[in-house]
Assembly symmetry: C2
Homo-oligomer: 327 residues x 2
Amino acid sequence: MIKIGIYGYGNLGRGVEAAVYNNPDMELVAVFTRRNPDNVKIQTPNVKVYNTNEVETFKDKIDVMILCGGSATDLPTQTPALAKMFNVVDSFDTHAKIYEHYQNVDKEAKASNKIGVISVGWDPGMFSLNRAIMNSVLPCGNDYTFWGRGVSQGHSDAIRRIEGVIDARQYTCPIDSALEAVRSGVNPELSTRQKHTRECYVVVEDPSMEERVAKEIKEMPNYFADYDTTVNFISLEELKKNHNGIPHGGFVIRTGKTGMNLETNHVIEYSLKLESNPEFTGSVLAAYARAAYNLNKKGESGCRTVFDIAPRDISLLPYDEMLKHTL
Amino acid sequence: MIKIGIYGYGNLGRGVEAAVYNNPDMELVAVFTRRNPDNVKIQTPNVKVYNTNEVETFKDKIDVMILCGGSATDLPTQTPALAKMFNVVDSFDTHAKIYEHYQNVDKEAKASNKIGVISVGWDPGMFSLNRAIMNSVLPCGNDYTFWGRGVSQGHSDAIRRIEGVIDARQYTCPIDSALEAVRSGVNPELSTRQKHTRECYVVVEDPSMEERVAKEIKEMPNYFADYDTTVNFISLEELKKNHNGIPHGGFVIRTGKTGMNLETNHVIEYSLKLESNPEFTGSVLAAYARAAYNLNKKGESGCRTVFDIAPRDISLLPYDEMLKHTL
């Protein structure tokens, strides 16, 4: 059994917990929180919650620590720090800072002879993996990524900060006609507005605020101004009833050409339709925790990404079974 | 530059040739044929064709030999034999015999300190890779594979063997309603007949034969009897004009559940739409030739499949670039 620790217990931590519970070769040993452990209820029977300041005492009791903090302030320091003691896996997703994060984790993991797998999830993660493979098998072509239909936490938060807004949910939606144009192989140049729309469900304190709030949302720079945005005002009850989930997903498409004169067209498409973003991300983290364990057992150390890891190392199946039944 | 040899020059050999031509880090050194080399015209300027009996003289001139023979009789002997001299890549696709083939290639490649990558293409190959990854990240779920719309060479040949048939083309077509049922997550149990139809375009010597030929096709055991088959009689001109290509493709879908009580649904889908089956397969072989070269340079030897190979080793991009731009 691979002994797993979870570091940080929000939506993602709960998703990882369920994934570990459903993987027959894994066992949850402990959950770590910055809060008072007595106030944190977890889902797994007979597993205890500890304060993060107790983590060092688990140095030899945990094979892989799965980090479930945020990319903005938690993971840049937590992942390198915990790599001094554990094999670690995180879902660091600030694309612009991945290279720096890689180097920080690599340094610590090499020093401790541990493995640190970073930026695991679906984007970065499964989408990156597929982009890399698609590009390798079709070197002449174009990549497209569409996100959604799914809840953007950042955009929902931005709406909540507007005066008079009680709660809000924002869905990022790919535009079907753009998807179809890409699939047709015409290699369209698509502007931000042509790829996605933004669909908002907003609860305000008073109906008289609706016009102002809608205007503020639609004109918000970076978040909404570059998109066709629709704003729907609903009641808090309706929000809770119909917009309670955290679905997400998206599409990675590569259109490429082969032949001596690049006269032949191909389309490769990978898509995800996820009812729960954190549960799926948690499942991917669990699979790569297995890889961290396997690689470290082979004597490897240092930082890894989805690009370094062969399917064999994330698989539950013995290799012989994979050859006989999956190939 | 990775020095490539092509062993066998039919449709797949031509596909590999074009792929090598379009990969900036590869160079075609020689093409080997069992035919008289003088009668084989290839597409790449300034590259010569040799008889297969000359292959030993290229022992130190070729980094990776890409085998383009058939799975029935060529590859089972050719791949192990050539692994004594070269890093090799093949597209062996007889699923039931892959395990045996793996062991034969592994033995020879280990003895010669070379790498042999087997069963590379799209199924087995890209589809297998995706099945393995999907299963790892969603361990609780169901897999579905659909093929087409695409030309089945084996089924086209079977029709051609019927008396009075001049030429024929058979398309395997996935049934849309079955695809939709799978995507909806209801986990349908689908019979052979419910997953695919078979669409035949047939040229006969005389219209009076049509009724008999259609009946013989539709009742042919293994090939057609278990499917809803449509037979269209057309002229040789129409066949040549409208059915000259070798398109193919298909879908791998995994529907899986997460959550402590497996209450959350997800759908992962990978699909290919290929205008040319041999050109795409050739492109995949070229990418894995890069992996054979990279792994052997690291000192590795033995047999490998898509399950053993990390995206990094098939990629054209330096790892730093992948971290910065693909992740």
